[in-house]
């Protein structure tokens, strides 16, 4: 070992920032700045239309273009995104799932145009559509078709783009949806097993080569504030993956059995109240995935301190990057071997997690595996229940969140003095500009080549051939994201996943701190029901393409718990659908949930259509990441109330909702 102060240092993890917004050109500028600041890889955030397979000119893309990421419609956009960034030297992570085959095809085609051989490309496509059904909600096709796309991408890259990580099995979003550490471990592992079994079943990979595929599987993991437990969770992951790859797939090469993972630390626990505290949370969470050398992340991206308020600015993202750099380069962390090997405390907790997770893995396999447990709603229901329990504990003060349910007094913060300038706003012109650019693209391309490429895609989709080669050819021909996805929608159909809320059993225990409050709410609702003749009925709608359904689900469950009849429609419903449902269901109240930042486009449209349908007197409330200035505008448009992440006391929201129904009934 070297002398003090001169120890050998490990190579640091790859540092990224999940970013992209507005247009390909604007995002390209951002990427170049980030690389100049010492970022060592790119993490592309696509906007929701791109993730769900729509072009900017599709009616469903209204209000969503360029909001939570960059819109990529065709090879021209992809070229602009990586202009001046040599792809043979880049490590690019793409958070893309249902349309992963398509976006990777665009990336490969762009590389080929740059003169780069695809064999040298490095990076990751998330490509985990299973968890989209459970939490993130950008799936398009039924499970069988989704599994086919996943395996097509994996079996193609294993030889053609061998340094690519074809799938990032995500436990990240499971935790965001409420998963406990045991559930996070178990459901990520059953997803990996489902994928590897499906790859095996394609028969495209010779038995002797299978270890190579297993070795390319990587994971995308979450780390929450209980950082000791999270640290043990990572160690449990390493042990469990070693077991699965050895016992189930007979992989003998230890390198191919390594649990390789990237991390984005927890966004769920970031608070709107005293948002500066989030920096401390983010740093603690980062420790969970870096302290163990034997279970250290290979790539880390950190959220920004102000994510619960709106879109972070470049400076906010820089602050998170600096946190990583200080830990990796200033501190001595990377000079030591594993710090916890032989620690009784850490090893005991790790073993507990290994055991409980393995039990749950067996339970899901008994139910037929990950896909079956998604289709039956089993996993989703478990997640919804865990999340409801978590929220209830926070509301009751049993789980401390500093600045939220404890130590809430604060001196005025200079960081949020001018709140509306403390976040990034996307120019509303982006939408129209992108539509105009798209129509120019369609005019200028070779229509005949496009038609030919689409016919070939259709033929392949109906066969059992790999989708990748035809998609790469289509990328070169100038086909758009919407054309690619719509063609496949016609062939495979679309899928609406189980919501998990109907069967979720979540009750306020008799001894709970808020049991009396809940009883009072129930009594008020029963009295209202008697006087109205019908039970008050609430419609919970999620307009737009945003699939983050936690908020909508928890409101729906809580409203049922206090006695509402709740109609929950699931994610991605259009304003037209919401109004049609309100009319057909005869509801007394509507709640809208929007987290993509497209509330200013979508909410007024719902209100306008309600008036046209003669339902202008039905009160509407909205919830989401909605800055105060926007909330004020929505109230002026006629929204009865706006709720944001700081409104964590569901009992208060329920009380408001009952007031609204009561007032409208009294006015009749």
């Amino acid at each position: 070992m070297a002398q003090d102060g001169k120890r050998e240092r490990d190579r640091p993890w790859i540092m990224r920032t999940y970013s992209g917004h507005s247009t390909a050109a604007a995002s390209n500028e951002l990427y170049r700045t980030n690389l100049a600041k010492g970022q060592t890889g790119l993490s592309v955030a696509f906007d929701l239309p791109t993730q769900t397979g729509y072009d900017a000119d599709d009616p469903l893309a209204r209000g969503e273009v360029g909001k939570v990421g960059v819109p990529i419609s065709h090879i021209g956009d992809m070229q602009a995104l990586f202009d001046g960034i040599p792809l043979d030297q880049m490590n690019t992570s793409m958070t893309i799932n249902a349309t992963a085959v398509w976006l990777l095809s665009l990336y490969i085609a762009t590389a080929e145009d740059q003169g780069v051989d695809p064999h040298v490309l490095r990076g990751t496509t998330q490509n985990d559509i299973i968890k989209e059904y459970l939490s993130r909600g950008t799936h398009i096709f039924p499970p069988a078709a989704s599994m086919r796309l996943i395996t097509d991408l994996i079996t193609y890259t294993v030889d053609e783009v061998p340094k690519w990580n074809p799938i990032n099995i995500c436990s990240y979003h499971l935790q965001e949806a409420g998963a406990t550490p045991t559930q996070e471990l178990a459901y990520a592992l059953v997803t990996a097993i489902g994928v590897l079994d499906a790859v095996k079943a394609t028969g495209r990979i010779p038995e002797s080569e299978f270890g190579k595929v297993v070795g390319r599987i990587s994971f995308f993991v979450n780390a929450g504030i209980r950082f000791v437990e999270e640290l043990c969770k990572m160690r449990a992951f390493v042990q469990l993956w070693d077991k699965v790859t050895r016992e189930r797939y007979g992989v003998t090469d230890p390198k191919q059995r390594r649990f390789r993972y990237g991390v984005q630390v927890n966004s769920l626990g970031l608070t709107e109240q005293q948002p500066e505290n989030n920096v401390i949370r983010i740093v603690l969470e980062m420790l969970a995935v870096t302290l163990s050398k034997d279970a250290r992340a290979r790539a880390i991206q950190l959220p920004a301190w102000n994510e619960a308020l709106g879109l972070p600015r470049p400076w906010d993202q820089q602050w998170s990057l600096r946190a990583q750099q200080i830990l990796a380069y200033e501190s001595d962390l990377l000079e030591y071997a594993d710090l916890f090997k032989g620690s009784e405390v850490v090893e005991a907790r790790t073993q507990e997690l290994v055991d409980s997770a393995w039990e749950e893995v067996q339970e899901v396999l008994k139910r037929g595996g990950a896909v079956e447990a998604v289709e039956s709603g089993y996993i989703k229901q478990k997640l919804v229940e865990s999340n409801a329990a978590r929220l209830r504990a926070i509301e009751a003060g049993e789980q401390v969140v500093v600045g939220v349910n404890k130590y809430i007094e604060s001196a005025p913060s200079p960081l949020t003095e001018n709140l509306d300038e403390a976040i990034l706003t996307v120019d509303p012109k982006v939408d129209a500009d992108q539509r105009a650019a798209l129509s120019r693209w369609k005019e200028e391309r070779d229509t005949e080549a496009v038609d030919k490429a689409l016919r070939e895609l259709q033929r392949v989709a109906k066969s059992d051939e790999n989708m990748m080669p035809a998609s790469i050819a289509a990328a070169h021909a100038g086909v758009t994201t919407g054309e690619w996805a719509n063609l496949l929608r016609d062939v495979w159909g679309e899928y609406r996943a189980p919501t998990g809320v109907a069967g979720a059993s979540v009750k306020t225990p008799a001894g709970a701190a808020n049991a009396e409050t809940v009883q009072r709410l129930r009594d008020r609702l029963h009295a209202l029901e008697a006087s109205m003749g019908r039970r008050p009925k609430l419609l919970v709608g999620k307009p737009g393409l945003d699939g983050h359904s936690n908020g909508a689900e928890q409101i729906a469950i809580k409203a049922r718990d206090v006695g509402f009849d709740v109609v929950y429609e699931g994610i991605r419903v259009s304003p037209e659908q919401i109004v049609a449902s309100a009319l057909e269901e005869g509801v007394h109240l509507i709640g809208l949930s929007i987290l993509s930042g497209s509330h200013l486009a979508l909410v007024p449209e719902v209100l306008q259509r309600l008036r046209e349908a003669g339902l202008g007197d039905v009160p509407v409330v909205a919830g989401g990441i909605i800055p105060e200035a926007d909330a004020e505008r929505l109230r002026q448009e006629g929204i009865a109330a706006v709720y944001t992440p700081k409104d964590f006391e569901l009992d208060n929201i329920m009380s408001d909702l009952i007031d609204l129904v009561d007032r409208r009934h009294a006015a009749e």
Binding site: V501, G533, D565, V566, G570, E576, E584, G586
Partner: protein, 335 residues
């Protein structure tokens, strides 16, 4: 609402005006005593609607998780493609503790929101024993006056099957491959034999074939043992394999529904009448219990009386009102 307003509203329901249909459904759900007369009047005005007498009421039932909502959605869309209008009543269980409910069926359905020929209403069971919601009977009649086909979708195996027989012209039981319980219920005669059986989620050929074979076996056992209703020996229940997500088997299901509707043609009136008798007596006995029934001469007498009065033009709701009044009058005499 005045009498003429009710007649006006009924006209609009019959022309499938969505706003009017929705208001009519709100009214029949209304449990306040002061609303009962208007409900009875509305249903009387809708009784002889052309769609009602010519239409088809389909009950779709089966254990939770077999894909009934997705199947309902696929069936409704296929019927629309054949040019028929469709009304759906989706019934979900309520939470016993709070009385609240989560009506999740819409989440699994995908419909064109601008389609005027399709209407979906969710209903909660409101904690009733028996499964079907309080307003289900009336809701089916409202939708039946407005749309060609009414689909009643309900969860459960057992009691609710018997309920749905009284509401639907054709009962479809939906199961998935590997539904052992249902097979046992059928064999043991705990469950009445439905008019059509569907094995949903039949995406995998082998599993589906086995499930269809198992079901056929169970049906034979049940029939041999004389189980089930046995009221319609001339109809042999078809077994159909569907995959609602892939859209296969849906056309066969529609053909089977049409065949059963044709088969019923001469007996449909009697079947619906039996349902109405049951509905009227259920309403009455829920209100006045055993004592009410025995005071008015027992269940046999009441059944015969209901048959006569309904044949004479009464509606189940008005009949129930009359019976109530008579019962209350006898209470006055004895006091």
């Amino acid at each position: 609402m005045l009498r003429s307003e009710i007649a006006d509203e009924a006209q609009q329901v019959m022309s499938a005006n969505k706003g009017a249909v929705s208001r009519a459904l709100n009214l029949v759900e209304d449990r306040r005593a002061e609303s009962h007369a208007r409900v009875a009047e509305l249903l009387a005005a809708l009784k002889d609607a052309p769609k009602a007498t010519g239409g088809h009421r389909v009950g779709l039932t089966g254990p939770p998780g077999v894909g009934k909502s997705t199947l309902t959605s696929a069936l409704a869309r296929a019927l629309r493609r054949r040019g028929r209008t469709v009304g759906v009543v989706a019934i979900d269980p309520s939470s016993v503790r709070s009385g609240g409910s989560l009506l999740g069926d819409r989440a699994r359905m995908s419909f064109d929101p601008t389609d005027n020929g399709l209407f979906v209403r969710s209903l909660a069971t409101a904690g009733e024993v028996g499964g079907l919601a309080y307003a289900a009977n009336s809701s089916v009649r409202v939708l039946g006056a407005a749309y060609d086909t009414v689909i009643v979708e309900t969860t459960g195996v057992g009691q609710s099957e018997i309920d749905i027989v009284h509401v639907a012209d054709t009962v479809v039981l939906v199961i998935q491959p590997g539904s052992g319980d249902v097979l046992q219920f059928l064999k043991a005669g705990i469950m009445e034999i439905p008019d059509i059986l569907v094995v949903n989620k039949a995406d995998q050929d082998e599993l589906a074939r086995r499930a269809v074979a198992d079901l056929r076996g169970a049906l034979q056992t049940a029939t041999a043992a004389g189980a089930g209703g046995g009221e319609d020996a001339a109809w042999e229940p078809p077994i159909i394999a569907t995959s609602a997500t892939m859209g296969t088997g849906i056309d066969e299901l529609i053909d089977a529904l049409d065949a059963h509707r044709r088969h019923l043609d001469s007996t449909l009136g009697a079947r619906r009448r039996r349902g109405e008798i049951q509905w009227a007596l259920d309403l009455f006995s829920r209100k006045h219990g055993e004592h009410g029934v025995s005071t008015l001469g027992g269940i046999r007498t009441l059944r015969a009386r209901a048959q006569r009065d309904l044949d004479g033009g009464e509606t189940p709701l008005s009949l129930c009102e009359h019976l109530s009044r008579e019962y209350v009058a006898t209470l006055g005499q004895t006091a």
